[in-house]
């Protein structure tokens, strides 16, 4: 329990640190967010700065932004004039979440199956899968996306190559997002099973001569799952980074694309909003991962 409280406390600290850092970085960034590719009359510029409080001293801006953020008012976008940041996030977050959850499920299934094949598969096939996972881990998601689009989208024409309409359009992005993490997961799972095979209880199970199914399921797979649970946090981070790329490539109206565009446009309130949501999401994922791991294996608590 105290662990959970400590975790929650450090998440709050993380959120505050990310808020402060993002605030400072955006304010010290060179260039003016309103003068990109156009020249504004001085009075218009002054007005713009005033509306967004950018003419006030830094610490006043900081206090103001912090208070507004805490109160749930995340300001309005600089670029999409007049649209509140919270509205943009409300519209795009569900898309990214759907994509993320689907990709999580896909990578879990793909990764576990591949891991099992490496760990207990026939001797002729196992090495091939091991090499495949090495290759997959080194395969950037944008390349995978390009290959998928070219092969399944353009050449075979099975799936639509872009946008977010209907279930068919989710297939390629989910694949592009989940294959590399699945490779990583498979490697970790296989390595963990390799370790379990060395353990005394597994050798005992072999010596006892229990049925292979029971042996594999209860004495090999189940104890090896802890290593997979430890990946929940890192996987969340991987999907997050992957979503920047995949949503850009497939023109999916999700939050990853909004984040990338907001950085390009120097849209400070939008950068702040998306970054905070991401941080919140990551800390939640890490806490969930920790809780799962602890409930599965109480020994990690003492670490």
């Amino acid at each position: 329990m105290t662990r959970l409280v400590r975790r929650l406390f450090s998440s709050v600290v993380l959120l505050w640190a990310v808020f402060t850092l993002t605030f400072l970085l955006t304010r010290f960034a060179p260039g003016n967010p309103f003068a990109q590719g156009r020249h504004l009359p001085p009075d218009v510029m002054a007005n713009l700065l005033k509306v967004y409080h950018l003419d006030r001293p830094l610490w006043v801006q900081y206090a103001l932004t912090l208070r507004q953020t805490l109160a749930g008012d995340w300001g309005t976008s600089y670029k999409a004039t007049g649209i509140p940041v919270s509205e943009i996030i409300r519209q795009t977050l569900p898309v990214s979440l759907t994509l993320g959850i689907l990709a999580f499920g896909a990578s879990l299934v793909l990764g576990m199956v591949t891991g099992l094949l490496i760990g207990i598969g026939p001797r002729r096939i196992a090495p091939a899968f091991r090499y495949a996972t090495t290759l997959l881990v080194g395969l950037p998601s944008f390349l995978l996306a390009a290959v998928l689009i070219d092969l399944l989208g353009l050449r075979l024409g099975i799936f639509p190559v872009a946008l977010w309409e209907g279930w068919q359009s989710t297939v390629l992005p989910v694949l592009a997002l989940s294959i590399a993490p699945a490779g990583y997961l498979a490697r970790v799972f296989a390595a963990s099973m390799e370790e379990t095979k060395e353990s005394p209880f597994y050798r005992t199970a072999v010596a006892k001569g229990i049925t292979p199914l029971r042996r594999i399921l209860f004495h090999l797979v189940l104890p090896s799952l802890n290593a997979v649970l430890a990946l929940v946090g890192p996987l969340a981070a991987a999907f997050l980074t992957g979503s920047f790329v995949v949503e850009t490539v497939f023109a999916i109206p999700g939050m990853g694309r909004v984040f990338v565009l907001s950085v390009m446009n120097r849209d400070y309130p939008l950068i702040m909003g998306t970054t905070l949501v991401y941080t919140l999401f990551l800390t939640v994922a890490i806490i969930i991962g920790d809780l799962l791991q602890e409930s599965a294996d109480p020994r990690v608590r003492s670490l």
Binding site: V13, L14, A29, G138, F142, L143, G233, L240, V260, I286
Partner: protein, 307 residues
């Protein structure tokens, strides 16, 4: 042979240690990992990776590998020329620029970023981890909390936000990716430090009155060097991948700088008309990433470093 190798510290194990586990302790030269006869069946991957990296690095570093064609000169008549066009082995891009020479200059940039990110992030991580481990109680928890908090954020997210301030130059990318990705190194190094700090040979050195500086440099560092080397080798592909991802998104290096990431970005846009613009840089990225990965894995196994 120093008396303070881990073999000496774990005396009784010497009797039971199988040849494999002695190989894991690893005091042999690093390069012998490639030609070790005991692993000859499995050495094909690492040897191939080494050759690929040797090729890529010599491509980047040798001036004669440049074809003599300027990578930014546009040949209007050769727009999207296919591979094996006379004078342009790999063809030309949508502005009629020679792809081979762009790829070669790209190799220099991408490998520079990769190695620099490797060096910088490993250095930051080592300093943080070792200092935290040695300082002990009042500071160690504080430094570890800070680390844990940062560790939650993905490298690309941190780097992207840092790029707002740093701009889009080569140094900016290197610094942003290094600050984004040193935490893993620090974590490993800290646990290594805690393991070795109170080892018998360290106590022996302290008892002999060795100065703290000498203690760290002569007695501590040689024992963590394998770990540092492996972490460094794992960070290089991280840097290359980070750079190419940032550049692909249009957040990293900006054209006309032609890193592999920028080339992939251009190739991606040209995909409907020509696959080659994407194929070459993509191939180079995958080759380098996988090679570094395989080599690092092999070295980690050879030196007995578990990640």
């Amino acid at each position: 042979m120093c008396p303070e190798t881990s073999d000496g510290a774990k005396g009784p194990h010497l009797l039971t240690a199988a040849p494999e586990s002695r190989a894991k302790r690893g005091t042999r030269p690093f390069l012998s990992a490639l030609s070790d006869s005991r692993f000859s069946g499995r050495a094909a991957g690492p040897v191939l990776s080494f050759l690929i990296l040797f090729f890529l690095f010599s491509l980047a570093l040798l001036p004669m590998s440049l074809t003599g064609i300027d990578p930014i000169t546009q040949h209007a008549k050769l727009v999207l020329a296919p591979p094996l066009t006379p004078g342009h082995v790999l063809g030309c891009d949508f502005l009629g620029r020679d792809l081979w020479s762009r790829l070669v200059t790209g190799s220099l940039i991408s490998l520079t970023v990769g190695v620099s990110v490797g060096i910088l992030s490993t250095t930051i991580g080592c300093l943080w981890g070792i200092v935290s481990g040695f300082l002990g109680h009042p500071w160690d928890p504080v430094m570890m909390r800070t680390l844990e908090i940062w560790y939650a954020l993905p490298e690309i997210l941190i780097a992207t936000i840092l790029m707002l301030v740093l701009g889009h130059g080569l140094m900016a990318v290197i610094i942003a990716l290094s600050i984004g990705g040193w935490m893993g190194v620090a974590r490993v190094l800290r646990s290594e430090t805690l393991r070795l700090r109170d080892a018998v040979f360290m106590d022996a050195a302290r008892a002999l009155g060795v100065s703290p500086v000498r203690l760290v440099i002569r007695h501590f560092l040689p024992n963590v060097l394998p770990v540092i080397l492996v972490m460094f080798l794992f960070r290089i592909p991280g840097g290359i991948l980070g750079e190419s991802t940032l550049s692909f998104l249009g957040l990293g290096l900006a054209p006309p700088a032609a890193s592999w990431g920028v080339l992939v970005n251009e190739g991606w846009k040209a995909l409907p008309v020509s696959a080659f613009m994407l194929l070459w840089p993509a191939g180079f990225i995958v080759l380098s990433l996988v090679s570094f990965q395989v080599l690092a894995d092999r070295l980690a196994k050879h030196l007995g470093v578990s990640r």
